[in-house]
């Protein structure tokens, strides 16, 4: 169980998180939705420990997050964030390049690449030689390579065509379900949300404005949620022009 309690974080005068409370149960797939600049990425980076909150805390199974938490997570970044200077297989098996597993690192990388639908011919290419969709797949392979307990996905379908987005959604759903991992995804892609989520939380003005299951989302009459999910310009949410 990951618990986020009263999280506050400001950048100068800009208060991005203004008291976020959230609980994510083990094995569930939570999708966090919200408009651009609503604090989704900041929230996920604060949960990970990449940003330090001004107030509040993140606990894992009731104890404060430690450095060891990083060894139990995998993350797919919005732009994949692959290391340009390393071939694909070294990106995927990055954790194995040192330590006792390094002899088998390449074979392991090829196996994980196959799980995301990429052949062994991709292993020796560099990230710059791959399309955006393939880079996302490699990023996904890197995220799942160490068999993590918690997976984070930051805008996994941004910049992809609908077909490739569908492929990535299916892969995320499959790896999360097959591995029994907890999945936390941030997105503003409604198709992605429907494909991935067990539960949805909407962040608005730095707080969790609404949360519930997909079924509850369909029947909710919350005006903010309705406006956001239907994509309307008219409503209580004022876009940042």
């Amino acid at each position: 169980m990951i618990s986020v309690t009263d999280l506050h974080l400001s950048f100068g005068q800009n208060a991005v998180l203004r008291g976020v409370d959230l609980e994510i149960a083990q094995g569930e797939s939570l999708v966090i939705i919200g408009g651009s600049g609503s604090g989704k990425s900041v929230l996920i980076k604060t949960i990970l420990g990449l940003l330090t909150p001004d107030e509040g805390q993140v606990t894992i199974n009731g104890t404060p997050r430690t450095a060891a938490f990083m060894s139990s997570i995998g993350m797919l970044f919005q732009g994949a964030a692959l290391f340009d200077s390393l071939p694909v297989w070294q990106n995927v098996a990055f954790r194995d390049l040192r330590g006792p597993k390094r002899q088998d690192a390449r074979a392991h990388a090829v196996k994980v690449l196959a799980e995301v639908g990429l052949g062994p011919d991709v292993a020796d290419k560099y990230p710059g030689e791959l399309s955006g969709g393939m880079q996302k797949r490699v990023g996904l392979a890197r995220a799942i390579a160490a068999d993590p307990d918690v997976l984070f996905f930051d805008e996994p379908t941004t910049g992809l065509d609908p077909m490739m987005a569908g492929v990535i959604n299916a892969l995320i759903r499959r790896v999360a379900t097959d591995r029994g991992a907890t999945a936390i995804t941030i997105t503003h892609d409604m198709a992605s949300m429907h494909a991935i989520a067990d539960r949805v939380a909407m962040i608005h003005e730095g707080r969790i404005h609404w949360q519930g299951t997909l079924a509850e989302l369909e029947t909710s009459d919350d005006p903010h949620l309705r406006q956001f999910t239907s994509g309307g310009a008219d409503g209580p949410i004022q876009p940042h022009w």
Partner: protein
Amino acid sequence: MRFLAALGAAVLAALASIGRFSMFIAHTFARAVRRPFYAAAFGKALLQIGFFSLPVVGLTALFTGGALALQIYAGGSRFSAEAVVPQIVAIGVVRELGPVLVGLMVAARVTSSIAAELATMKVTEQIDALHTLSTDPMQYLTVPRVFAATLVVPLLVAVGDTIGIFGGYLISTLRLDFNPASYLQNTVDFLEMRDIISSLVKGAVFGTIAALVGCYYGLNSDRGAIGVGVATKGAVVAASVLILAANFVLTEAFFST
């Protein structure tokens, strides 16, 4: 009053920058004695900083040595002291021009490259990705580069010194009619071990500065393409100024009487 406030703010900002950079240096050296050590990254940095800098260092040293010989000859002829060309070329190149020019070339080529690479990694979230892969970015990115630069820049300086002296030798023997054998003999006789040691120590210090500054600016860059540009420019300027300042301090330490 407004001027004093602006001056105070500028001084405070400068002191804060010095403090942040000092902390960065302390963190780097603390990690340098800790495991893991990334040997592959170190090897790659040795090649990038050392081997691939050889052409620019060689050409710079060659032309500078030649120009120095011409200048000393022209200046010395005013006092009938043309014969001191080999000695002054040797001392000038080994004590000052070799290490300083190599340091500045490394700042231009290596510091800029490190700053741009690391800033781009930050912009594209590769630094965050390292964190999520249980890897300390400073340990993985900074320590190998600083180690490599500290070790390899003295070697570049040695190569630069040799080629610089050779440049002076070429001009002196081909153009100024010096006797080749006596030119070399004068060079060897005049140089002291202290000159060579000071040259290599300067190389090590300049290499450390070049890599540290590049890493500091790269890892602390702002987001976006402008952030990368600002980091790169700032790194080259800061490294060049620090190298020249360090050169003065080291010259004072080695040669003050």
